[in-house]
Symmetry: C2
Subunit: 204 residues, 2 copies
Amino acid sequence: MSSKGTLIVISGPSGSGKGTVVKSLMEMMPDLGFSVSATTRAPREGEVDGRDYFFISRDDFEEMIEDGDILEYTTYCGNYYGTPKKEAERITGEGRDLILEIEVDGASQVKKKFPGAVTVMLIPPSLSVLEERLRGRGTESDEVIKKRLERACEEIKLAYDYDYVVVNENGGVEACARKIKRIINAERSRSARMTETVDNFINR
Amino acid sequence: MSSKGTLIVISGPSGSGKGTVVKSLMEMMPDLGFSVSATTRAPREGEVDGRDYFFISRDDFEEMIEDGDILEYTTYCGNYYGTPKKEAERITGEGRDLILEIEVDGASQVKKKFPGAVTVMLIPPSLSVLEERLRGRGTESDEVIKKRLERACEEIKLAYDYDYVVVNENGGVEACARKIKRIINAERSRSARMTETVDNFINR
C-alpha cells in the first residue's frame, strides 16, 4: 500500500464499547475512512452485512487467508474476524486516514506490518463495570461471560504494546470519541507527516 | 528528577513566534508549569527579569554550567540561553507537566537526557514570511537578519528529530496554541502514562 493515509487501529476487549465509540468518532470526523471487517460469526439483531461486518462463510474466510487477502485476523469464540486487504487499500489509496476497529491481537499484527500505524486500546473503567456490561447484553451464558472477562484481562495486559490507552467511562461514549479525535489530530502533526512543509525550507 | 510531570519542549527558530504561542498556550492550560530560562543577553523593551527570562551575567551563567545547575543551554548571537535545573525540578516535583520554551539545539539535549520528553518544533509557514517577521522587529541590522535566516533554515533541518512540527501561520497564534494543546492532551493518553488504570486490571 503506497499512500499518505495513516492506519489508525482502535481495539479493546469485549465490553470496552469500541463499536459504539468508533461509530461516534466517524460522525465527528467524516473525513476518516472506515474499514468493514469480515467475520464468520452469525449477525446479531440489527446488524447489516457490508455495514457492520461482511458476514462470510468459514470456507471463504480461510480461502482469503490462504490467498493473502486478509490484512490481519483473529479467532474469537470459535469464529474468524479479519480485515479484507482490498478494503484497506481502497481507502488509504484515496489518501485518507483509515480507522481499523479490530480485536486486540489483530492490532499487534498490524503494528508489526505497519510500524507507522497508530494504535489505541479502549478499556472499561474497571473490572466490575466490564462485568456489568457483558451481563447487560443478556445474550451470553454465565460460562461465556466468565471466559470473556478472563480474556478481557489477558488482553488489557497488552495495553503497553499500544501507543494510546483511552478509558471508556459509562455514559461517556462521546467524550471517549472526542479523546480519540484529539489523538488523531495530534498525530497529523507528527514530524514524519509534515514532510511537505519542512522540506520547503530544507530544499530552498 | 523523579516525577510524573512530562517535559514538553517547545522550540523553533527565531521568528517562529514561539514566545507568543507559548504565552497563549499557558493561558489556555493554566495547569501547565512554565520554566523561565536564564540568558546573558540584554533585556528587550518590555521584558521583565524573572518573567520573560532570568537576565544574568556571563560569569554567573558559566558558573551554573560548571556546577551542573543548567539543564540545557545554547549560545546564540554571542549570548547564553539555558534552563536552570532548579526551576525544572521545582515544577515537575509538583507532578505538573512542564513547558520548556528553548532554542533548537537545546531541545535535542533534553530529548537525549529525557527520552520521555515530548518535543514540538514551531516553524513559520514559509521562508518569505520568516524574513518579513525578522525585519518587522526592526531591532536588528541586515547582516544579523541574514545570519538569522540562514540559521533558521539550518535549525528547521532538525525538525525530523522532533516528535511534532506545528506551523505558526500569520495571525494564527491561538490556532497554533490550540494545536499544541491537543498534542499535550493526546500525550496524556499515551499507554506509558496510563499505568494506574491499566495495572488495576493486570494486578487484580
